[in-house]
Every structure is written in C-alpha cells, then in structure tokens.
C-alpha cells in the first residue's frame, strides 16, 4: 500500500497544476497585492500640473474621499483606460485625481489635450519618488482614499466598466455608509 504513496502525491501535484492553469486565466501573474490597504495614505506634497507653484498635500485632501489614478503619457494601457475615465469619471461619485507618474509636464499636457482630461485635479510626480511610498510599480494604478486619509481599495491595471461597476462603485458606496 505504501507503494502507492508516490501515485497519490502525484495526483495532488496534478491538482495543483490544474489550479495553476485556471488561476492564470483569471489573474495577471504580475499583480502584487498591496500591503497598503486599510493603511493611511502616505504623506505626499506634490505640485499641480496646471499650477506648479501650488503644492497639494495629503492633509489638505482630508475630509472627503477621492480616487487617485496613476497615469503617464508613455503608458499604453493608460490610453486604453482613458475613454473609460472620460465617460465614467463624473459618475463614480468621488473626485478623480490624476497622478502624473514619471512624465514631463509638456508630454502630459499634450497627451491630455489630445485625449481629453477626465481629472478634477492632476498632481505631478516626475521622478516617481513619492510613488514608491504608494507601492506603485507600473501604470495605470488606482487608489481609493477615504475621508480620513486611509487607502481602502487599489486596482492594478486599467479601470474598465466592469471593474468600476463590480469593485470600485461598491467600495465607494461602502465608504458612504460609514459617513455619520
């Protein structure tokens, strides 16, 4: 009977691989879950794209929830996501803050004027230094920050109608329920 142990062990392995193949069709292998969920948004002080002399800080943004969307003019997937933001940006119920990542203001402005500007406000992180605090490793990425300055949801990759309907809006609604 013990001679069948390798056989049963192998069946477990096959099950694991079958799971792996299936899992791969559902997820992007390179998605790294963020350790910042339910942690305070990192403190930041970044200039606005339209008015570089004006610095936006975390503390100044407290009091209302908002969605940060990390993008860059160099990023192809951001171009895919853009139409979705243009149509849905007004509907999500919270301000949409563009986070211009590793870009130049000229390129960013040109890109926005070409494709349209869905953002209520755009902050600039040209070097990407602050983005490290956010755990950003690519674009696009989106962070939902609540009124108390806590990150409640992160999405890696382009936002789609599906993701907005199934994940983002419910997360925003949950925030709304918490409000006194």
């Amino acid at each position: 009977m013990s001679r069948l142990i390798p056989f049963f062990g192998f069946l477990l392995l096959v099950a694991l691989f079958g799971f792996g193949i299936w899992w791969n069709t559902q997820h992007d292998q390179r998605e790294v879950p963020s350790p910042l969920i339910n942690k305070p948004v990192p403190s930041y002080a970044l200039p606005m794209l339209d008015d570089p002399s004006h610095t936006v800080t975390r503390d100044a943004m407290l009091g209302k929830p908002y969605l940060i969307n990390v993008f860059g003019s160099w990023c192809i997937a951001c171009g895919e996501e853009h139409p979705v933001l243009m149509t849905q940006g007004k509907n999500i119920g919270v301000p949409l803050v563009g986070y211009n990542y590793k870009d130049t203001p000229e390129n960013a402005k040109a890109w926005l004027s070409q494709h349209g500007n869905p953002y209520d406000m755009i902050i600039v992180d040209a070097e990407g230094r602050t983005a490290i605090d956010f755990g950003v490793y690519g674009a696009p990425e989106s962070f939902l920050v609540d009124a108390k300055g806590v990150i409640r949801y992160k999405h890696i990759g382009p936002l789609t109608d599906q993701v907005i309907a199934n994940e983002l809006k419910p997360a925003i609604a949950a925030l709304g329920r918490e409000m006194p």
């Binding site: 192809i76 895919e80 590793k102 230094r129 490290i132 956010f134 990759g157 382009p158």
Partner: protein
Amino acid sequence: MRALSVMLAACLLVFTCPLLAQAIDPLPFKDHAEEVRFQQLTRELRCLVCQNENLADSNADLARDLRHEVFDQMQAGKSDAQIKQYLVDRYSDFVLYDPPVKPGTLLLWFGPLAMLLAGAGVVIFTVRKRARAPMPIDSATTDQGEDW
C-alpha cells in the same frame, strides 16, 4: 480580461526594456565594504516589473529607482533589516527573495526538513532490516580489489 492583462504587461514591458536605464549604475559609496553591502542587499530584493530578476541586475526604471532608494537609506544609516522592512511595507513580502519565516511559509521552510526526517526514517529502517539478515561468508574482509 486577457487583452487587458496583455496591456498591463505591455506597460510593465515599457519599463523593462528601456533603451537607456541600466543596471550598471555607479553610486558614490564611501568605501568598498559599503558597495559590497549594497550589492548583497540588492541581490536579495526583487524587481517587481521584471520576469524574475533582482534589483542588482535589472535594467528597469523601477529597479533603478528602488536601488537609489536603498542607497539613500544606507547613507541615512538604516540597517539591512530596516531597509527591507521599508520596502515590504510598500510592496509586500513579494519584494524579498528570502521569504520571511511566518505562518504562511512554514511549509516552505520546514517542508524539506520534514521530508528529510521521513526519508531518514525509511533509510534507517531499511539499513537495520538488511543488517539483521544473516550475512553470507563471502563478504569477507579481504579486498582483492575485485570488489566492483
């Protein structure tokens, strides 16, 4: 879904195949010992946008940014453990090539030991069983060199 993951991959790919960013990145170390420490540390950290490369060898922009971050922290006097923790706080345990010993990795770290103990048990059992059997006389102590 597949198309989008391809898009994401494409974006990350822009980071991994830049024509300019390079892993070769002279930094102003105080001395060679500090450089060696930096090399060892960045070899243990993972480049998140790459297909299984460490920070020391990756050409990606993000890898260069993180290397500079590590360097700055070293200059600020932080220890290896503090630097690693800093990155783990932002990027999760995934950024460490040396998986931490925690409940989720007990199987990983102690599985081989368990297998070794089980196997050793089998070997001991087998050897004892064989050693107990009557030994024929031809296994004598003289070695004519034919014992092959």
